[in-house]
């Protein structure tokens, strides 16, 4: 009975974070609104995507739809839901309570972020498999780039979620504070239209928005078609720039999270 409670040796940092993450996952699972939203969201996006990517078919369509899904599940999970969850944990006093024990702040943040990341990953993976079987299999030569983009995007958005939570007073006001990123990032991320159609100056700026490098790398990684219908794989050499932009955003997001995350409830 007590084997669960008395580990033979002190738990590692990873084990502590995982213990908390397991609790967070159970709590997320019990939050039916979040689960239903997450599950119902996927088919809606697929239907929407099929209309947007009118001229695409087969593997190219699968790739473009997966990029769309990956980006939106991350935005919804690792940004919006995570911001809300962090504010809720802070306001109920749980965040501070956790850091009064052996768990470090970083471990707490990892634990809160992990369930949202895993949910987005599972959603995207399931959709990808489903689409591959029904619509067509894309060219996955550089699939590691897609993983890198997904993971990097999740970490960046999670850090931005922590930073946003620090500027959010209540769970309800998270709907407002998350708005800027939720509106701007997808619009200028190259999700619905290729950034090439934008005037040069606007395009340069758009390429620097947080989701742009994630979308670009996902597209290359999943073998999506370029704006002219050609394979993007040939353009692997051009991934240096989005990788650099993503890295810069990771650094900036880490800085913002460190500076803005609040641990104390506002009283």
């Amino acid at each position: 009975m007590s084997t669960l409670a008395t580990p033979p040796t002190a738990p590692s940092s990873l084990e502590r974070a995982w213990s908390l993450a397991e609790l967070e996952m159970s709590l997320l699972w019990r939050n039916k609104t979040a689960v239903v939203t997450a599950v119902g969201f996927t088919p809606v996006l697929v239907v929407l995507g099929v209309r947007v990517f009118d001229g695409l078919a087969g593997g190219h369509l699968t790739a473009s739809l997966t990029v769309l899904l990956a980006t939106f599940t991350l935005l919804l999970g690792s940004y919006y839901n995570l911001t809300t969850a962090t504010v809720a944990r802070r306001e109920e006093g749980m965040l501070k309570r956790l850091t009064a024990g052996e768990v470090s702040r970083a471990e707490v943040l990892v634990a809160i972020a992990l369930p949202h990341f895993l949910l987005a990953l599972v959603q995207t993976a399931l959709a990808f498999v489903g689409l591959s079987l029904t619509v067509g299999t894309p060219n996955l030569t550089y699939v590691f780039l897609a993983f890198l983009a997904f993971l990097g995007g999740a970490v960046m958005l999670s850090l931005l979620a922590f930073a946003t939570s620090g500027k959010t007073r209540t769970v309800e006001s998270a709907q407002l504070t998350t708005m800027p990123l939720l509106m701007v990032a997808p619009a200028f991320g190259g999700l619905f239209f290729p950034l090439d159609v934008l005037p040069d100056a606007v395009r340069t700026v758009a390429e620097l928005t947080p989701l742009a490098p994630v979308v670009e790398l996902l597209r290359v990684g999943l073998g999506a078609a370029g704006p002219d219908g050609t394979e993007l794989v040939a353009g692997l050499a051009t991934t240096g720039r989005p990788l650099a932009v993503l890295f810069a955003w990771l650094v900036l997001a880490a800085y913002l999270a460190r500076r803005s995350t609040r641990w104390d409830a506002r009283r």
Partner: protein, 320 residues
């Protein structure tokens, strides 16, 4: 007195909350020196806003001091938290749990983050929550939530336990369960640092007390030392106007509802009480609603709060 190194050493500690402008900045702790020794029960008293929680958070390692030095078991509680945290337990003034998390689930999760955890069921039993193991935290009463908090704090068998108002808002039964648990830990040698608004409880439990006001410690000593300088009170009513005998203390009389209420504040409780009783017996007078009480911590507390309103408080330390 105690030859071993103190468990907690605090010197010149200051804590400032930075506002967006210099005007909004607020110094909650303004130079505190403290030592807490192994096995001691140390109580921090003070009015709301005196700086108790702000001070505790720094000692607990939840915040860094703006100035000064803190050592817990000889370590910096922030920079060397790895050496400190496995040995401390904390009950914060405010904390709660995700409403959907069940008691046992919450306790098990916490236990798995500790270096050395007592069996979860035993701890829940100890704080009187075993029968509520499957209840969601959101459905617990305030007292039960506080006891769950205590369960988490003691689960790692801490050598040093911080309790920030552990019984505020609890019903008498919950309070009693909480103090019973704490007494058991103290008996096993746990060092306890606590704050509470229940002065009688503090008086019974604490070995040493520091009274804080406006960010500084204004009095420090054992409960006996602290109340030693305070006056005792005798109160009673008489049916008619009578001239009291010569007393050593000060005397005030107030007429109300046809009787006269007398209050004597004195440093010679026994002498004055004996004189009054003898005088009453001699004159065939009954001292109605007679109440005689020794100097109390409560009186000291009120005096500190009042003198502080008079702006200047001179820090004073009673040598141990």
């Amino acid at each position: 007195m105690n030859t071993t190194a103190p468990v907690i050493e605090v010197s010149g500690l200051r804590r400032t909350y930075r506002g967006s402008s210099a005007k909004e900045s607020f110094e909650a702790v303004r130079g505190v020196d403290l030592e807490v020794h192994r096995g001691e029960v140390f109580a921090l008293l003070g009015t709301n806003g005196a700086g108790k929680t702000s001070l505790l958070e720094v000692v607990e390692g939840l915040a860094s001091p703006s100035a000064g030095r803190v050592r817990v078991f000889g370590h910096d509680p922030v920079a060397e938290r790895r050496h400190v945290r496995p040995r401390t337990g904390v009950v914060l003034q405010h904390s709660a749990f995700p409403p959907d998390a069940k008691v046992l689930e919450m306790a098990r999760t916490w236990g798995r983050t500790l270096s050395e955890a007592q069996p979860v069921e035993e701890v829940l039993e100890l704080v009187g929550l075993a029968h509520r193991a499957d209840v969601a935290a959101g459905a617990l009463s305030g007292g039960e939530r506080r006891r769950l908090d205590l369960a988490l704090a003691i689960m790692g068998r801490p050598e040093l336990l911080f309790l920030d108002e552990p019984t505020t808002g609890l019903d008498p039964e919950s309070r009693s369960t909480t103090w019973q648990t704490v007494r058991g830990l103290v008996a096993q040698g746990t060092t306890v640092v606590l704050t509470s608004h229940y002065l009688e409880e503090v008086e019974q439990l604490a070995d040493r007390i520091a009274v804080m006001h406006a960010g500084v410690v204004v009095r420090e000593g054992t409960p006996a030392e602290l109340v030693a300088g305070q006056a005792a009170r005798i109160e009673f009513t008489l049916a008619s106007d009578e001239r009291l005998p010569e007393l050593r203390g000060e005397h005030v009389a107030v007429r109300s509802h046809g009787t006269v209420r007398h209050v004597v504040t004195t440093h010679a409780l026994e002498d004055d009480l004996r004189a009054l009783l003898a005088w009453g017996a001699r004159n065939g007078l009954s001292l109605g609603a007679l109440d005689a009480r020794s100097a109390s911590l409560e009186q000291l507390f009120l005096d500190v709060a009042r003198s502080a309103d008079d702006a200047t408080v001179t820090p004073q330390e009673i040598p141990a």
